[in-house]
Point group: C2
Chain length 144, copies 2
């Protein structure tokens, strides 16, 4: 367990304590790997951790990532046919401009949009954990 993830480790322990759950070697391992990512799928983590622990089961990874969601450390987001588990602590979110002509993807960040999103959420009694913004259109080259 890297020292820099102590805060998240404590948060997990607190959740475990409150719900009569136990701290296991696997949960520590998966948390450590998870906190290094911005977002990851269970399958990707399964392959990534196969080196560290070849016997770590896929079901355990799913269970543990869902546990992280319950503990407020992760956020599940359905993307394509898979579930992405977002690292809530991770900063530096960016959105996407996607050209439907050539599939080019441009990443961008806009504080004003983020602020307005918060405003909308507050008006509706929501607290935002993550978001997804994708703008689909034609880039300058594909516009002809």
């Amino acid at each position: 367990m890297a020292a820099k993830h102590v805060k998240e480790m404590e948060a997990l322990k607190e959740h475990l304590g409150k719900h009569q759950l136990k701290l296991t070697r696997q949960r520590e391992l998966i948390l450590s790997a998870f906190l290094r990512q911005e977002h990851i799928t269970a399958e990707a983590m399964y392959h990534q951790l196969a080196k560290s622990d070849p016997h770590l089961g896929l079901a355990t990874i799913y269970r543990t990532l869902n546990l992280f969601c319950d503990a407020g450390l992760a956020q599940a987001r359905h993307f394509g046919s898979q579930t992405q588990y977002d690292n809530i602590a991770h900063k530096g979110h960016h959105d996407h401009l996607i050209c439907t002509g050539c599939d080019k993807i441009v990443e961008f960040e806009n504080c004003d949009i983020e602020r307005l999103q918060e405003e909308v959420a507050t008006q509706n009694g929501f607290i935002i954990k993550t978001h997804r913004l994708e703008l689909y259109g034609l880039c300058s080259r594909c516009r002809h």
Copy 2:
């Protein structure tokens, strides 16, 4: 085919023509049903259309809804374990607030966000055709 959906019907025909695809009774039927919805799952449409055509296959509905996505009439959105097909013409410009606690969906519209999106796109040489904005978080009840 209802007369009010002529525009979408033309758009579909144009797409079919460009890709050597054919206009079938099923495609007309499914388009007609789809345009009456704001968003729908393949399964829901399957049951809904069972009255009109008991032999219409589920696979055909999936294929056709995906065709509508290619034609720019629909947009697939993965939510929970299912895929929602959004009616782009009907939906116009509204986005979603999604509660990850109870799966509640609140639709909203915000002109300022739309304007900023256009701004970002212009700065990057893009012309937006559609977009998707989803805010994930907890609603007032699930926040505890």
